[in-house]
């Protein structure tokens, strides 16, 4: 099975990368998948995303006879830990996890330890619709080539959120943000690293402070690391006393930060989803006066993926779900600010007119920036930076002095 | 069915202390009264006959009932009925169900069981009391239900554990007479435990201490 997949993929890569596997092979997958229940381990902290996963499950049931069971995680790491402990206990087949919402260091860790099934992504029938050229992040996860071991389903970019009634002119650069924080003590914070969004913010600070941010595209070099990141810590040292709670406590993750914004405990929040604010306004949980902004020099962008563990019980069903997530109808629904407002991974020009119309019909939403206003998406640094900066943060700020 | 209750050298000790020492025969329809102050071993003697002696006590000797050795039988196989100081009616059951609990399974059929219960209630002047909540009965009524319940189980002997001590004076005479007359009619050997001389006198039989010494009233 693995071997055959490998050969097919290798051949596909050599010949025509965009060409999916033969219809017969896919029919075979569909047939195996029918009647399976796919245990999709995905972070469950946001009801809008949970609803979307439920919707995908309904579609999978109706279209392919595949049932989706959403295993709601407090952290993606839980699912990774599970697969690893299964392997350590000798469970090489019949594992509990069929599909994981994943990216970045979790993907790197699983791939590194050989815990992933694949390559499979580029064999999916919907793969040719993916905008590989325009959105290189769909095949490069934190500088790591995905090699078909995970399939993208949403684009994300860091955007800041603020209430326009409380803040007239938001700071549009890292330097302006620092000045604003110092002038308005207690009104800004970030999720506590090693939280994903919190560490993303640290990387954003690194982009604005490092003398040459491009070094982060390579694995970090121990010899020069301390000197390279010194400006990052200097920036944080300067603002920390003026943070929310004077930096003595931090929100735990993105929704917790969002709640602080909704409660007016902070004036500026941020999310890795340009549509989050609009979606929250639509859901009635954020004031209609909330708007978003990015830095003129750009903010970090990346893609969300799904991956299949090597020992997944329902690998066929999991591939069907991965493919379904690339379906234009599903992608358009995800981008709807009234649903979750995730940006599509598809190349709109490759879609049929009918499918493109689905995207054209979407309204941006009150707070969502147009693609032009969103500004450049900065590449994610190599995963080693995220891990190390997260650890060092814990040492510097994670323990009360 | 009825026969003599025999205590053959029933000796009960706790540690090195002798608390009961009885050798007696009680004929059908007779009442043996065991009298003594509290803590003198009266209840211990009853527990031994009932089969519910606490492990701290050591008993020797034999208890025979109608020629049958019941010394080591479990309580429910002895055929020994017991009346307590209080009525000890089952609080969750109606008066009728309390009586039905005692009725042996050999009485078969709903109608027959019903008839047996009604007859027992009639004998106790409690006709129509079957559906009543025992907690709504007067003390005298409850005492009579308790006696009828004990008799319905068709015991071969009856043990009375100060059954009249909680009743007020007028009721006491009435219930005592009722119980003693039922014992005579049913022809049951009975043992009465009491510290009240009047009870002992009314019972009419021999009176002894737990250690077997005769008591003169």
């Amino acid at each position: 099975m693995h071997r055959r997949h490998f050969l097919i993929t290798a051949a596909a890569l050599l010949a025509l990368p965009a060409q999916a596997q033969s219809q017969a092979d896919w029919d075979n997958v569909l047939q195996q998948a029918r009647g399976q229940t796919v245990y999709w381990h995905a972070w469950g902290g946001d009801p809008k995303i949970n609803d979307f996963i439920t919707f995908v499950g309904e579609q999978a049931e109706a279209r392919h006879g595949v049932t989706v069971a959403h295993v709601k995680l407090a952290s993606t790491a839980d699912a990774v830990a599970r697969v690893l402990s299964e392997r350590n206990a000798g469970t090489v087949a019949g594992g509990a996890v069929d599909l994981i919402w994943i990216n970045g260091e979790n993907f790197a860790a699983m791939k590194d330890q050989g815990l992933l099934f694949g390559p499979f992504a580029e064999n999916l029938p919907n793969w040719p619709l993916v905008d590989v050229a325009g959105k290189p992040a769909v095949v490069t996860d934190f500088t790591l080539p995905t090699m078909g071991y995970e399939s993208p389903w949403a684009m994300a970019q860091l955007v800041f959120e603020y209430d326009s009634t409380r803040l007239a002119e938001p700071p549009r650069s890292l330097a302006a943000l620092k000045d604003w924080i110092l002038a308005n003590p207690g009104r800004f914070t970030y999720p506590q690293p090693p939280d994903y969004l919190g560490t993303t913010f640290l990387k954003q600070v690194a982009y604005g402070t490092l003398s040459d941010p491009s070094v982060m595209q390579l694995p970090l070099d121990e010899a020069t690391y301390e000197a390279t990141v010194a400006p990052l810590w200097a920036w944080l040292d300067a603002v920390t006393p003026a943070l929310w709670r004077s930096g003595a406590a931090y929100p735990q993750n993105e929704p917790a930060l969002g709640q602080l914004l909704a409660d007016a405990e902070v004036d500026i929040g941020f999310a890795l989803n340009p549509g989050r604010a609009s979606a929250e306004i639509a859901a009635g949980t954020l004031a209609e006066t909330v708007r978003t902004f990015t830095f003129d020099s750009g903010t970090i962008g990346n893609a969300s993926f799904v991956a299949i563990p090597f020992n997944a019980t329902h690998q066929a069903g999991a591939q069907v779900i991965a493919n379904l997530l690339l379906d234009p109808e599903i992608q358009a629904r995800a981008q709807d600010p009234n649903v979750i407002g995730f940006q599509t991974v598809l190349d709109l020009s490759s879609l049929s007119d009918a499918d493109r119309a689905r995207f054209d019909a979407l309204e941006l939403g009150l707070a969502t920036l147009s693609p032009e206003d969103l500004g450049p998406a900065l590449l994610e640094p190599h995963a080693s930076w995220m891990v190390r900066i997260g650890q060092d943060w814990v040492e510097r700020y994670g323990v009360a002095q | 069915m009825t026969g003599t209750l025999q205590l053959n050298g029933l000796r009960i000790t706790t540690g090195s202390r002798l608390v009961v020492n009885l050798t007696r025969q009680v004929a059908p329809g007779d009442v043996l009264t065991i009298m003594g102050p509290s803590g003198s071993g009266k209840s211990t003697a009853l527990a031994a006959m009932m089969g519910t002696l606490a492990p701290a006590f050591r008993a020797e000797g034999q208890i025979l009932l109608a020629g049958r050795d019941i010394t080591t039988l479990p309580p429910h196989k002895r055929g020994v009925g017991l009346l307590f100081q209080d009525d000890v009616l089952f609080p969750h059951l109606s008066v009728g169900d309390n009586l039905a609990f005692a009725l042996p399974p050999s009485v078969k059929g709903r109608a027959a069981r019903r008839a047996a219960i009604d007859a027992a209630l009639d004998q106790a002047d409690l006709s129509g009391f079957a559906p009543r909540d025992p907690a709504t009965l007067s003390g005298g009524q409850r005492a009579r239900v308790a006696l009828m319940r004990t008799l319905l189980a068709r015991p071969c002997a009856l043990l009375l554990d100060e059954p009249f001590s909680r009743l007020d004076a007028s009721l006491r005479v009435q219930i005592r007479n009722f119980v003693v007359s039922r014992i005579r009619t049913e022809g049951l050997p009975a043992i009465l435990v009491t510290h009240d001389a009047e009870d002992a006198h009314a019972a009419g039989g021999h009176v002894v201490t737990p250690l077997g010494e005769a008591v003169t009233l």
Binding site: G44, G45, A81, T285, L286, G398, A400 | P75, F90
Partner: protein, 557 residues
């Protein structure tokens, strides 16, 4: 079911069911901690947060226990026998069934700078148009965590004290002491406290062990820079790379050591306190002045404890139907059932699974406990102090110390992730509570009823089914409701033995708590409370209805 041969073995079987999982789990934790030259301990020592985290475990645990015990004793000492006492009893008893996670979530919303208390006072009293920048939740000293623990442990200790009081002959002793001229408090301290505390000792130890190692409460209310040791151990266990498994195991061993240390220290304090009380008695303590102070203290502490929990839960209920609710509005701008409607399918599914697990674990526990108690009665067994310790074993050994090992065993045997395995793990925690809840009433049974039944020719089995069980239906159902509540509230065993696939309302509520979505949290927390509450309501109503015409079965309080 209740047959002689099997019945005789019930106590031993039950003790084994409690000892074996704990022992196997501990072994499964100790081995990885000391494996590979104990490199887990080296990693643990390198963690910069170790000292403060360990210290936090001690300070929050010991202070929460001391405060809970003090409040309980002051409540009993100054209000026992008064009208207030009955009132407090009725308010605190249902709070016992509130799961720790729900209590913590409710409290978090109540005391947060953007929470209900501040909202009610703002802006008219405080002048705050924005939430103040105050570090209340997740404070570095663990004060919020301590408060949260106290609100949950006071109801527990209070009810344990209630159960123990009748066995102390306290009312008579208090009367004697007071007639000799002692004040109420002095009389209590001198005449009742020593024998009451002897009965409360194990519950207090359980509270100490729990408070030092609480995971879900610490994750919601506790400090984050660093976390408490137990919360950090769970975080390490969940690390994707599994690089921290050995560190987690070493942390668990250290946590176990800290608990043992704290218990030893507590025993030392007990000795000092006893000596102090003896000298107080010799000095002829009267202290009438204390009574009024203690009385207001008791009423105040009781109100704060019950109020914090009650208001917090009311806040969660409000959030579950809130539309936009901006600061400083005391009530939502709009009300909506959207959250409930959206969550309904998930709530129904997780609720049904939660109930299924709880019913299974409780039914098994109840059967075992009844078998033990019946064996104790029929064979005149007298349970020794050691069996009581075994009963408390799963409550004294920290969950983080033995559940990871147990998870590994479950994984190996392939039963992990099945809801029946979760129910079996719950049994270990449900059984002690069912036993503790039922044993006093069962043992207080008027044995004359049994003897009366036997003398009427009924077999011991018939006496059990037809007399003892129905007459004791109320305490039996109450014990079952306690068991259900304990099962519903279990977080760590469900998470670990369920492998993340067995989702109960509690694991969902805790998972959601990281997201801060108060509306959705509100629905789960409410359901988390409603399930046990429904159990207690049934335990009250079913016997009341069955015995509506039996005055002798009425509650005699």
């Amino acid at each position: 079911m209740i047959t002689g041969g099997l019945l005789r073995w019930a106590p031993r079987l039950t003790l084994a069911l409690l000892i074996l999982p704990v022992a196997a789990g501990l072994l499964g934790t100790l081995i990885p901690a000391f494996a590979n030259d104990a490199n887990g301990f080296h990693a643990l020592l390198d963690w910069p947060g170790l000292r403060p985290a360990a210290l936090l475990s001690l300070t929050t645990g010991v202070s929460a226990t001391a405060m809970s015990l003090a409040i309980t004793l002051v409540l009993v000492a100054s209000l026992w026998g008064t009208r207030f006492f009955g009132l407090i009893q009725h308010v605190l008893a249902p709070l016992l069934s509130v799961p720790h996670a729900a209590a913590a979530l409710g409290l978090a919303f109540l005391i947060a700078p953007s929470g209900w208390i501040v909202r009610l006072l703002s802006p008219w009293a405080t002048g705050w148009e924005q939430p103040p920048d105050l570090l209340i939740l997740n404070d570095p000293y663990g004060l919020s965590l301590t408060l949260g623990l106290v609100t949950k442990e006071v109801p527990f200790l209070f009810l344990m004290a209630l159960a123990a009081l009748p066995q102390t002959d306290g009312a008579r002793r208090m009367n004697v002491a007071q007639s000799l001229g002692a004040g109420r408090i002095a009389a209590f301290v001198i005449s009742v406290l020593p024998s009451l505390y002897r009965q409360l000792r194990l519950p207090v130890y359980a509270v100490l062990a729990y408070s030092m190692t609480a995971v879900e409460m610490a994750m919601i209310l506790g400090p984050t820079r660093p976390n408490t040791l137990s919360a950090q151990v769970v975080i390490w266990m969940a690390d994707p790379t599994l690089r921290f498994q050995a560190t987690a195991a070493a942390g668990a061993v250290l946590q176990l050591g800290l608990v043992v240390l704290a218990l030893a220290g507590w025993r030392g304090l007990e000795r000092l306190a006893r000596r102090g009380m003896v000298s107080l008695a010799r000095a002829g303590l009267r202290a009438h002045a204390l009574d009024a102070i203690a009385r207001s203290l008791a009423i105040g502490a009781g109100t704060v404890t019950a109020g914090a929990l009650g208001l917090g839960l009311a806040g969660l209920a409000t959030w579950s139907v809130a539309g936009l609710w901006s600061f400083p509005a005391a009530l939502p701008d709009t009300l909506t059932l959207t959250t409930w409607a959206r969550a309904a399918p998930d709530l129904a599914r997780t609720g049904a699974l939660t109930l299924g697990i709880a019913v299974t674990a409780t039914t098994l526990s109840l059967a075992l406990v009844l078998a033990c108690l019946e064996a104790e009665h029929r064979y005149a067994l007298s349970p020794d102090a050691r069996s009581l310790w075994v009963l408390y074993l799963p409550l004294l050994v920290p969950q983080v110390a033995f559940l990871p090992g147990l998870q590994f065993a479950a994984l190996r045997s392939g039963i992990e992730g099945h809801w029946l395995a979760v129910a079996a793990a719950h049994l270990v925690f449900v059984l002690p509570y069912v036993f503790l809840s039922l044993a006093p009433s069962w043992r207080a049974w008027d044995t004359r009823l049994s003897v009366a039944g036997l003398s009427l020719g009924a077999t011991p089995a018939r006496v059990f089914w037809r007399l003892r069980l129905p007459v004791l239906l109320r305490p039996v159902l109450t014990a079952a409701a306690v068991g259900m509540a304990v099962s519903v509230g279990q977080y760590l065993p469900t998470l670990l033995i369920g492998g993340g696939r067995v989702e109960t309302v509690t694991t969902e509520a805790v998972a959601l708590s990281s997201g801060g979505n108060r509306r959705l949290i509100g629905t789960y927390a409410l359901l988390q409370m409603l399930l046990p509450a429904a159990g207690f309501a049934l335990a009250l109503l079913v016997p009341a209805w069955l015995f509506r015409n039996r005055r002798g079965m009425a509650v005699t309080a």
